[in-house]
């Protein structure tokens, strides 16, 4: 074995040159080529699947957002605007702690375990709120009807979807708050429900932003 200094230097030099050449291939040429193809062929998707409504961008089809009333004095968190379909809770979202010249949203989960007291309280409170918010004088929601996604935070905190069951649960409330016929709103939910790809891949979803855009169009008719 020859471990002399000059040999080591030679080897490190070769390693560095290898890294630089491979950086050019995998860190410059590869991403640029993929970006070129992506921007040319799938421009909207490559840039975040933004959606327009009423002539302005109202978000990305892929990124969940909140539909809340403005924060009132004395409130810790803004109350949901019950006119609109509500997304899942997002207790794991954060705000950026470094590079604070920006106001970025940090994607993330709560990471609470199933026996965590805080999580048990969040879920219990969320369930009570879902039952309370969605019960109307003519339609009472039972606690057992609330699906799991309605009371749990997603992995990203940015889940754009809710389950069809949670969407259906909100139909009576949304119809009442917007003075619409329940049937009309039910139809909206049906139209905005995506089944599984090829019938078995993924889970059925309802995209909340698309649904609320459709709802807005209906109310403005």
């Amino acid at each position: 074995m020859n471990n002399s200094l000059s040999n080591t230097t030679r080897l490190i030099g070769a390693g560095l040159r290898a890294l630089l050449v491979l950086t050019v291939i995998t860190g410059v040429l590869y991403p640029l080529a993929v970006t070129g193809v992506a921007q040319a062929l799938f421009n909207n998707k490559a840039n975040g699947s933004e959606i327009k409504s009423g002539g302005r961008v109202v978000g990305s089809e892929l990124i969940g957002q909140t539909y809340n009333l403005p924060l009132k004095k004395g409130e810790e968190a803004p109350a949901p605007d019950l006119k609109w379909f509500q997304p899942r809770p997002s207790n794991g979202l954060g705000t950026n702690s470094v590079n604070t010249q920006y106001k970025l949203i940090l994607s993330g989960a709560t990471n609470r375990s199933g026996d965590n007291p805080e999580l048990i309280k969040w879920v219990t409170d969320a369930k009570a709120a879902v039952v309370n918010d969605n019960s109307t004088p003519t339609y009472k929601v039972k606690s057992s009807e609330v699906p799991a996604d309605a009371v749990t935070s997603s992995g990203s905190g940015l889940d754009p979807d809710i389950s069809p069951a949670y969407a259906k649960l909100q139909v009576h409330r949304v119809a009442e708050k917007n003075n619409l016929d329940v049937k009309q709103v039910e139809k909206l939910v049906e139209q905005n429900t995506d089944g599984r790809t090829l019938g078995f891949i993924g889970e059925p979803t309802v995209n909340v932003l698309n649904l609320n855009i459709a709802l807005k169009e209906l109310t403005e008719k």
């Binding site: 070769a14 491979l22 410059v28 993929v34 375990s113 965590n116 749990t152 992995g155 990203s156």
Partner: protein, 554 residues
């Protein structure tokens, strides 16, 4: 269709897709590492490196190549993060602190991709795309190179020569990882993943106002993140983030990419040692464990034991609607039985047993099918242990693939299987014994201990996933996890290459009536048993304090 049935059908579709790719890819990779021809682009690269790709290396030379390249990589990535604040194309993000920069450099070079930083707020385009994603390629190529060197050790006799590290590194990158990643990235963009170099920009919101979003070369990083079993997400939420993994199809496709090379390498192995059946026996072992773990995971997650999940009526905490319990369970097992560590759902919020399955998957040594390259060499070490145990039972010197497993070989294999548990258990014990590391826990009780056990299991096995309630951005965790990742990656490689050298020097022993048939189902059964027993004996006490206690209580 019930979610359970949909989950099972997704698993079957995955198996079918992997089976279709198995032969062509496995044979192709065997040709890549055996061909005497060099592509023109490769010749340019060798010229730039100043290496002669036809010069055969004995194991010390091969190892020196691995270590020199990796050392340079750690240093380069460290410096890149430390000067980020002055780099153009970095969104004006500041430089990374020394302890976190060391941790991240160690993490990406060791194929771990543990992340103590939040991607969207900390790493600009240059570091992500020109630094981290590059290591996604080359660390995977290094892993395959070491595995191929071990396979050559079995295949060759009376030589000690294991091939040329630079040629293996370059071929793995240029002929395998880059082409598949290009296709993978384009599929991901076509299905909705983002791919741009936009800066931080305002996106209008439905209720008025706007949000600030970060763009980036996400799809291109995503493809190699899965294909190279790396797992470092562009965003903090990793493959749960809709920009990385927008729908059920991309989810299944990402799992496919994770498992593609590790499974196919068993075919490459069979081809190179001249007996496809030997490859099938290894493959069967991997598949048995993988399917068994996936079935267990689906069972416990659909069953959703745990107080909070009982109230909610399902284990959807930390899981995305579009993937559901089925798609999340399949992903979680694939990512922890390989060295990937990407997550589409947060393991900390799995059921007690579900979290335990992810931990046990890593503790097996990530060999079913394991990381790119590292899975194959890890499994071959276990095969050596298995033939050794079988040899002890009948009282004869064990052989594997026509090579005698003597004192030197078994010592090296034993060192291999001891080093990772030693790192995991010693570091976890130290963290529990010291006063401050436990302040990083989010959960208390058994799950709090699990957060720490998971962290060192993930680091030393080069996985990179986490029970992410643990605040790991402290000097203690950045430093010790960084060390665990480096030692857990490169010490095993030392033993593997030394073993390869020793095997290649031997002359082959002819098979006799007394030779254990290592190409038969009996051997697969023996191997599965050996793996489960060794891992079980090593980790049972630690697992009993963490996930088992939590799972049994709920």
């Amino acid at each position: 269709m019930s979610p359970i049935l949909a989950g099972v059908l997704q698993l079957l579709a995955l198996i079918a897709a992997l089976a279709l790719a198995y032969r062509p890819l496995g044979d192709y990779m065997a040709r890549v590492y055996s061909s005497p021809k060099h592509l023109r682009v490769e010749k340019w690269i060798y010229k730039a490196i100043g290496a002669n790709p036809t010069a055969e290396m004995r194991w010390p030379a091969y190892l020196r190549g691995v270590l020199a390249f990796s050392a340079v990589s750690v240093l380069f990535l460290y410096v890149l993060q430390r000067v980020q604040g002055s780099l153009p194309g970095s969104l004006g993000f500041s430089s990374i602190d020394p302890d976190q920069a060391f941790n991240t450099a160690a993490s990406f070079v060791s194929n771990t991709n543990w992340q103590s930083y939040y991607g969207e707020q900390a790493m600009g385009h240059v570091v992500q795309t020109g630094g981290l994603a590059v290591q996604n390629f080359v660390s995977a190529a290094v892993g395959i190179a070491v595995a191929v060197a071990l396979v050559r050790g079995f295949a060759r006799s009376r030589t000690g020569e294991l091939g040329n590290f630079w040629a293996d590194l370059v071929r793995g990158t240029v002929r395998i990882l880059v082409p598949i990643s290009v296709i993978g990235a384009i599929v991901l963009v076509a299905a909705g993943a983002i791919q741009n170099f936009a800066g931080i920009h305002e996106v209008g919101q439905f209720m008025g106002g706007s949000q600030q979003w970060n763009g980036g070369a996400v799809a291109s990083q995503e493809a190699i993140k899965e294909l190279g079993t790396n797992g470092g997400g562009y965003f903090n939420a990793n493959s749960a983030h809709p920009f990385e993994n927008p729908n059920g199809f991309t989810n299944l496709f990402q799992i496919f990419l994770i498992l593609l090379i590790p499974f196919a390498l068993t075919r490459t192995f069979g081809r190179m040692v001249g007996s496809l059946k030997q490859g099938y026996a290894i493959l069967a072992t991997m598949v048995t464990i993988w399917i068994g773990f996936t079935a267990l995971m689906m069972w416990t997650e659909f069953h959703h034991g745990g107080p909070a999940f009982d109230v909610a009526g399902g284990a959807m905490e930390g899981k995305e609607t579009r993937f559901g319990v089925g798609g999340s369970s399949i992903f979680a097992v694939a990512t922890t039985l390989t060295s990937t560590g990407a997550v589409n759902s947060f393991h900390s919020s799995f059921t007690g047993f579900g979290g335990g399955i992810t931990m046990l998957g890593m503790q097996l040594g990530e060999i079913a099918p394991g990381g790119t390259g590292s899975g194959l060499y890890g499994m071959l070490i276990m095969a050596i242990i298995a033939v050794f145990i079988a040899g002890l039972m009948v009282g004869r010197t064990p052989e594997y693939l026509g090579k005698k497993i003597g004192t030197r070989e078994i010592k090296l294999a034993a060192c291999y299987i001891l080093i990772t548990p030693a790192l995991v258990l010693c570091f976890a014990a130290a963290a529990m014994a010291l006063p401050t590391p436990v302040n990083s826990m989010t959960n208390s009780g058994a799950h709090g201990f699990s957060e720490i056990l998971y962290a060192y299991t993930s680091a030393a096995n080069n996985n990179g996933s986490a029970f992410a309630g643990l605040n790991a951005d402290t000097q203690w965790f950045n430093t010790t996890l960084g060390l665990a990742m480096l030692l857990g990656r490169f010490l095993p490689m030392v033993f593997v290459l030394a073993l390869a050298g020793s095997l290649a020097e031997q002359k082959p022993v002819p098979a006799t009536a007394g030779t254990l048939r290592t190409n038969k189902p009996l051997f697969t059964g023996l191997l599965v048993g050996t793996i489960l027993i060794i891992t079980g004996l090593t980790y049972f006490p630690a697992l009993a304090l963490g996930p088992l206690a939590e799972g049994l209580a709920s």
